[in-house]
């Protein structure tokens, strides 16, 4: 018997105003029913900032909302955002300046109509987060205090120490509790339900029981985050496996800008753990082996606070030209003093101690560029709508595109809450206008058969963990900060080889309860799709723009490449098409920091 053993506030669950209450035909869940066991107006996949913001917005519009997440909401990867959230709230600032910085940061690949929404609505959204309870840092006057982030002309990054993402995530979770929102907690989505070209829900496994169910919905919002585990190492959590991007891709939604992978300039060599841009924002230096602040050669005006792509390339150049230290450069915060570090950089000091054995109060810490964020994702419009009717996307899984070829620090948290809210509002409106039958349990039956045949597959010498590691190492080696055609083509071939191995690999754990072995195996399939799109897109784009730097095409080429590359699913691999970039009032210029 399935039930909401660990669901949030299930007792407070409101009955839908749009739908009849969920019905169940008699018999065990194993019998294929005509009606899905679970039904909602709006089903949100993923409980990070985008998903929870969407849920709160959709519920406020009167929809019956449920969130489904493979981890408890406060375990989501939004936690890991450290530095802050951007909004042009200062008296000397304007949203237009924020928009321009974002567009310049994106190397003009961002869609300007979406960037206008992002920046114009930022202030009000930030204030509403503060009113919900986020403990934003204050100035001496008791008002919100800000710091300057990379690529920004003004100090417009609002923050909570160096745990801004965690502080926001926990507050949105508090709001879920307050509003009695339903969460399918530790349920893993295996498939989207696409009926006659329309998305009508998802098939998911209750990880605790191993049972599969169809969850029917009038609208589905994909808020599953990024796909950073394509690389090894990566700043990303182990759960960032591109589930939503891959599911939408396989359902036929175009995925854009996947070649645009952000390498963060300050990650630890050992684990890939992130040391926030907040360090440089507070005044940290980057030094090479000669003790030189090398950024003066690459970005004389902005120095360490140039855009991330620029700083990462500078670091990699220093390392490649022999001025690195064991494959790293040094991040030095000692001159900031204990008190400032204590107040604003405490978590990264602890990370340095725990994972690099360095106390940043006393010594500089070795860092290098590491995989951090995927600018690309499921193509959406400003309301979060994908090209599949009924399917929405928001947050890192989506590509509106506001980040273009390079995201500015502290714009990702903003992206999640602004477009999460837009998607929630629009999905609720769609649900209100819909009626007609919802899909039944037979979809879960299809998945059940597929997974069972996988469990029945005999083990061979290969392992899921081995394929995953080979993928991560290969991507880190071949689809790097500096890219060349030869290596990118090797990466495409490499991914396809791994896909072949994936088709024959077995799953060791045959049990039902908390079978993480099976889940990793499914996740690896998502990762392989995402890696293939990244590699294929990177081969295709024959220019250098933002995070995508081609040694063989070192210049930006607006005449030929001021456009998004879209990946469209075919069984043989992604079919590429072009989508124009929306330019409203900022014409492309040369980009210097």
């Amino acid at each position: 018997m399935l039930g909401f053993r660990i669901c949030d506030a299930a007792a407070n669950h409101r009955t839908s105003v749009f739908l009849a209450p969920a019905r169940r035909t008699p018999g065990s869940p194993r019998e294929v029913s005509e009606v899905a066991l679970y039904q909602h107006d709006v089903l949100i996949i993923g409980a990070g900032l985008a998903g929870m913001r969407a849920a709160i917005a959709a519920q406020a519009e009167g929809a019956d909302v449920a969130i489904i997440s493979k981890v408890h909401p406060v375990r989501s990867h939004s936690n890991a955002a450290q530095g802050g959230i951007n909004a042009a709230l200062g008296e000397d600032d304007s949203w237009e300046e924020h928009a321009f910085d974002t567009i310049k940061g994106s190397d003009y690949l961002g869609d300007q109509d979406a960037i206008e929404v992002l920046c114009a609505e930022a202030g009000a959204e930030l204030i509403s987060l503060e009113r919900m309870g986020v403990i934003f840092h204050r100035g001496d006057d008791g008002r919100l205090g800000s710091r300057a982030f990379g690529g920004s002309s003004k100090a417009r990054t609002y923050f909570v120490g160096d745990i801004t993402g965690q502080a926001m995530l926990h507050v949105l979770y508090e709001q879920l509790i307050k509003h009695g929102l339903r969460v399918y907690e530790e349920w893993f989505v295996t498939d989207l339900i696409i009926d006659d070209g329309v998305c009508k829900g998802a098939v998911a496994m209750d990880i605790r029981s191993g049972e599969l169910s169809a969850i029917a919905a009038r609208a589905v919002i994909m808020a599953t985050g990024g796909t950073g585990r394509v690389y090894e190492p990566s700043t990303n959590a182990l759960i960032c496996t591109g589930d939503g991007i891959s599911l939408a891709y396989r359902a036929g939604a175009p995925i854009i800008d996947m070649e645009m992978v952000q390498f963060h300039p300050t990650t630890l060599k050992t684990t890939g753990a992130l040391l926030s841009e907040a360090a440089r924002s507070e005044g940290a230096y980057l030094l090479n082996s000669e003790g030189e602040r090398f950024m003066s050669k690459y970005a004389p005006n902005m120095m360490e606070l140039a855009s991330r792509d620029v700083v990462s390339r500078a670091e990699q150049t220093e390392i490649n030209e022999g001025r690195g230290i064991d494959g790293c450069v040094l991040l030095d915060v000692r001159h900031l003093g204990y008190d400032r570090i204590r107040e604003r950089l405490w978590q990264i000091r602890e990370l340095g101690i725990d994972f690099a054995g360095v106390d940043m109060v006393k010594d500089p810490v070795p860092v290098r560029p590491g995989c951090h964020y995927i600018m690309g994702g499921i193509k959406t419009d400003k309301e979060g709508r994908t090209s599949i009717e009924g399917l929405y996307a928001a947050g890192e899984a989506a590509c509106v595109s506001v980040h273009g070829a390079n995201r500015l620090g502290a714009n990702s948290l903003l992206d999640t809450v602004i477009f999460g809210r837009h998607a929630g509002v629009d999905a609720a409106a769609r649900a209100r206008s819909m009626d007609g039958p919802l899909p039944g349990e037979r979809y879960a039956e299809d998945t059940r058969k597929r997974l069972q045949s996988w469990l029945d597959r005999p083990l061979n010498a290969d392992r899921v963990g081995k394929i995953r590691l080979d993928l991560g190492n290969m991507m880190f080696e071949k689809v790097q900060v500096f890219r060349t055609e030869d290596r990118l083509k090797e990466a495409v071939e490499g991914v396809r080889e791994l896909k072949k191995r994936y088709e024959t690999v077995g799953v060791e754990n045959k049990g039902k309860v908390f079978n993480t072995d099976l889940l990793f195996a499914i996740e690896l399939g998502f990762l392989l799709d995402c890696a293939e799109m990244t590699a294929v897109g990177a081969v295709e784009r024959k220019e250098s723009r933002g995070a995508h730097f081609r040694v063989d095409y070192p210049a930006r080429d607006d005449a030929n490449w001021l456009k998004h590359i879209a990946c469209n699913y075919t069984p043989e691999g992604p079919k590429l098409t072009d989508i124009p970039v929306t330019i409203t009032r900022w014409q492309p210029q040369e980009r210097k920091y």
Partner: protein, 317 residues
């Protein structure tokens, strides 16, 4: 580096009791316990289940008992614990039922978080812009907001071992974060609820939660702050605060604890039913010769003790 692990395994589908299974893995010196468990799961035994995600001590997924003590697996360097025994013992977190292997059922944990009404409750309509608040007050809250809800404190809480209804260190630390938020207008109501049974007065101050917390949240200290804030605004009509006052008052009067008076004063002298209910225990104590004398003599240095009280009260202002 060769690492020897002894992992407590449990699979509800087999019907067998939990049992230890040993693994030996080879890892770089700088590796963590989580690295070793992932190595086991990916390359040695895929049937091992555990929760893990961020690897950076921020998501709170991987709290478990390592060498008998609750820790985050991702934050625990193998080199730090390897010296404690020949092999490293890994068990699921305590005080919560095991679902499988190292995965525990955290539903009771989340229910208690919900029970403290963990959301901001400001008064009246919101201001035009942000709420004004002092820089210091926000920084103070951040130190507790640091809590990642990993459950390490709950795992090793000695009160929860005997009383499952205790709200526990994590939920009470969360409660302090709201009671102390200058923007929140429900402080008194919160403190009143928290002063009831299973709340702030049930902590025995064993300090284990402070010791095991991987984020230095110091839950017990937040519970103590809640106690003094509650009594400070006159919420004293409860057993916990009466007990504390009886304790300090008898020491102040006689220089030593008057054990005989503790129970009636804790229940309240006029609380006849509660005091009568203690009678059978009292009779057993008299029979066993364990009943403390109702008459305690003042200790010789009582004037000195009173001076200490006076000095302390003066310092507190």
């Amino acid at each position: 580096m060769e690492v020897k692990l002894k992992v407590l395994r449990y699979d509800p589908e087999t019907g067998k009791e939990p049992e230890y299974k040993r693994y030996t893995v080879d890892l770089p010196e700088s590796s963590t316990i989580l690295d070793s468990l992932i190595e086991v799961r990916e390359f040695h035994d895929g049937t091992l289940s555990l929760r893990c995600s961020c690897r950076s001590a921020i998501c709170g997924s991987c709290a478990m008992r390592i060498n008998g003590r609750a820790r985050l697996a991702c934050k625990t360097q193998i080199s730090l614990v390897a010296g404690e025994a020949d092999e490293i013992t890994v068990e699921p977190a305590g005080n919560m039922p095991t679902i499988k292997d190292l995965v525990v059922d955290m539903a009771p944990f989340w229910n208690k978080i919900r029970a403290v009404k963990p959301w901001l409750q400001p008064a009246g309509p919101p201001p035009e812009r942000e709420y004004l608040a002092s820089k210091e007050s926000m920084i103070e809250l951040v130190e507790v907001m640091n809590c990642i809800m990993c459950g390490a404190c709950v795992s090793d809480c000695t009160v929860l071992e005997v009383d499952k209804t205790f709200l526990g260190p994590a939920a009470l630390a969360k409660a302090w974060r709201f009671a102390h938020d200058p923007r929140d207008d429900s402080t008194a109501a919160r403190l009143r609820e928290l002063s009831e049974a299973s709340g702030i007065w049930d902590c025995t101050r064993c300090n284990f939660c402070v010791e095991v917390c991987p984020k230095d949240v110091k839950p017990m200290e937040q519970i103590m702050r809640l106690r003094s804030e509650a009594t400070g605004i006159g919420i004293t009509n409860n057993a916990g605060s009466r007990h504390t006052f009886a304790f300090t008052n008898t020491v102040k009067q006689g220089g030593r604890l008057n054990e005989f008076q503790m129970l009636p004063r804790t229940h309240g002298l006029l609380n006849i039913p509660a005091n009568l209910a203690e009678l059978p225990g009292g009779i057993r104590m008299i029979r066993a010769g364990k009943m403390p004398s109702p008459f305690t003599h003042k200790i010789p240095g009582v004037a000195h003790v009173r001076r200490i009280f006076k000095q302390f009260e003066h310092q507190k202002g």
